[in-house]
Amino acid sequence: MKVLVPVKRVIDYNVKARVKADNTDVDLTNVKMAMNPFCEIAVEEAVRLKEKGTATEIVVVSIGSKSCHEQLRTALALGADRAIHIDTELNLGSLQVAKLLSKVVEEEQPELVILGKQSIDADNNQTGQMLAALTNRPQGTFASEVVVEDNKVAVTREVDGGLQTVSLNLPAIVTTDLRLNEPRYASLPNIMKAKRKPLDVKVAADMGLELSSKINLLKVEEPSQREGGVMVESVDELLEKLRNEAKVIA
């Protein structure tokens, strides 16, 4: 079974994003970048499927500028077999990304596509579901367990009320949640080996798709900051403040 894993280069999750002074966007100059944490979980899941003998080949794909080779090499070091870079300088929305990925799906015909449920920059939580719609495949979103059996995949999903398990016909699309697995670190020998694994480059503009967005980013602002509070000395003082000052408890 072939598994396709799209990965995204994003701001490192430990870094707090800062808004540009002119309010046009977030300032990413000289900011530490990394693979989106949910994509790391997706790569890990694919690698585990390969270790179990379920997956035979893992293809990773990333869309963006050449700098995303770094994240593709990381994925290769973690166990992916080959990588595809779809080159574009455009800041694409989820729909355009899903359209590009659907072209890759058409070409590669993976039985399973595993994506992160959301990227921690735009926080859209859309791409996997859109790819499922465009390829007319079933979707198992927010997965905390993925079990492949025969021509189906059972996906346990983290939902607001608890957990839901669905059974999807393959080929299918899965998006990862935090509890699916704990990603490994790449070993030094594997990082060296990854440098020799194949990495193909395609140009997004040559893929025959309309890539311009009809969502205009008008402004990016700092959120309203909370006023600094006070430290209380005791439980008694805390209760006194909550009752008489904040008036949030009786």
């Binding site: 999750y13 707090k16 800062r18 808004v19 977030v26 989820s94 729909l95 449920k117 959301q118 920059d121 926080d123 859209n124 939580n125 791409t127 996997g128 579901q129 499922a132 719609a133 465009l134 079933p138 979707q139 979103t141 927010f142 905390s144 059972a154 999903r157 983290e158 939902v159 607001d160 009320g161 608890g162 957990l163 839901q164 398990t165 669905v166 059974s167 999807l168 949640d177 935090l178 509890r179 009809k214 969502i215 980013l217 008008l218 402004k219 990016v220 602002e221 700092e222 959120p223 909370r226 006023e227 509070g229 006070v230 430290m231 209380v232 439980v235 805390l238 209760l239 909550l242 949030v248």
Partner: protein, 308 residues
Amino acid sequence: MITLLVAEHDNSELKLDTHKAVDAITKMGGDIHVLVAGAGCQSVAEHAAKLQGVSKVLVADHDLLAHGLAENLAPLVVDLADDYSHIVAPATTTGKNFMPRVAAALDVEQISDIIEVVSSDTFKRPIYAGNAIATVQSEYAKKVITVRTAAFDKVSETGSAEIVSLEAVADAGISNFVKQELTESERPELTAAGVVISGGRGMQNGDNFTLLEGIADKLGAAVGASRAAVDAGFVPNDMQVGQTGKIVAPDLYIAVGISGAIQHLAGMKDSKVIVAINKDPEAPIFQVADYGLEADLFEALPELETKL
């Protein structure tokens, strides 16, 4: 201009997320229709018909829709889309699951998690774990939107909309519901509670969450958790508050043994009053807390419970 809102419910109860989404849509202007899609969901439709501002409720009552499978629900919404300028759902795990499938089928870019309506085509939404707020404008004739319900108020139940039943629903035939394990609780739901008390890694284990539950019961509060507490298996996933869990904005949020990582703050920093109990005076949670108590939680919580 007519908006179709897809209701959040569990076939027996209409969720407050729906009431709050109606508030958001009211700010966009125009008529509001609500779709109740489920199985045995007639009483939910009757409830939805009372929401102030709603003029029509469409009911699709069919076994295939019992569990909100996106493969069956999305085509139903897409079929109705012609009549509507806006298609909206609350940004619950249900809405997050099926709405992008609707959007892509309509060849529209979705706007996720709006927290403010600027006009009928312009909205504010948090990005980068809420460290920035983007104002975005959609040029599409049809807008597909999910609403972060914590940012809106619930509308009253003083209306009386007409209820219309929809005919046949098709089975996409590519997915099946297997089972669900829902967390049973007598306490209010996290996203609906006026008071939330959450525990983090500092709680040390799941049993110690009883220390929070005693207080929750006295305050009529819901109990939440940080990702670390969920990952460690102290409590189930549906209790996670944060960027990638539930977003809450209660009148009072009490964070206990939680350090205050940006991902956690993203889920609770719009609460009216924040209390933090932590033994580390440097914990970042104190920077957003209105009242901070530097204390060992194992001493502070029992004392708090007795004195409430």
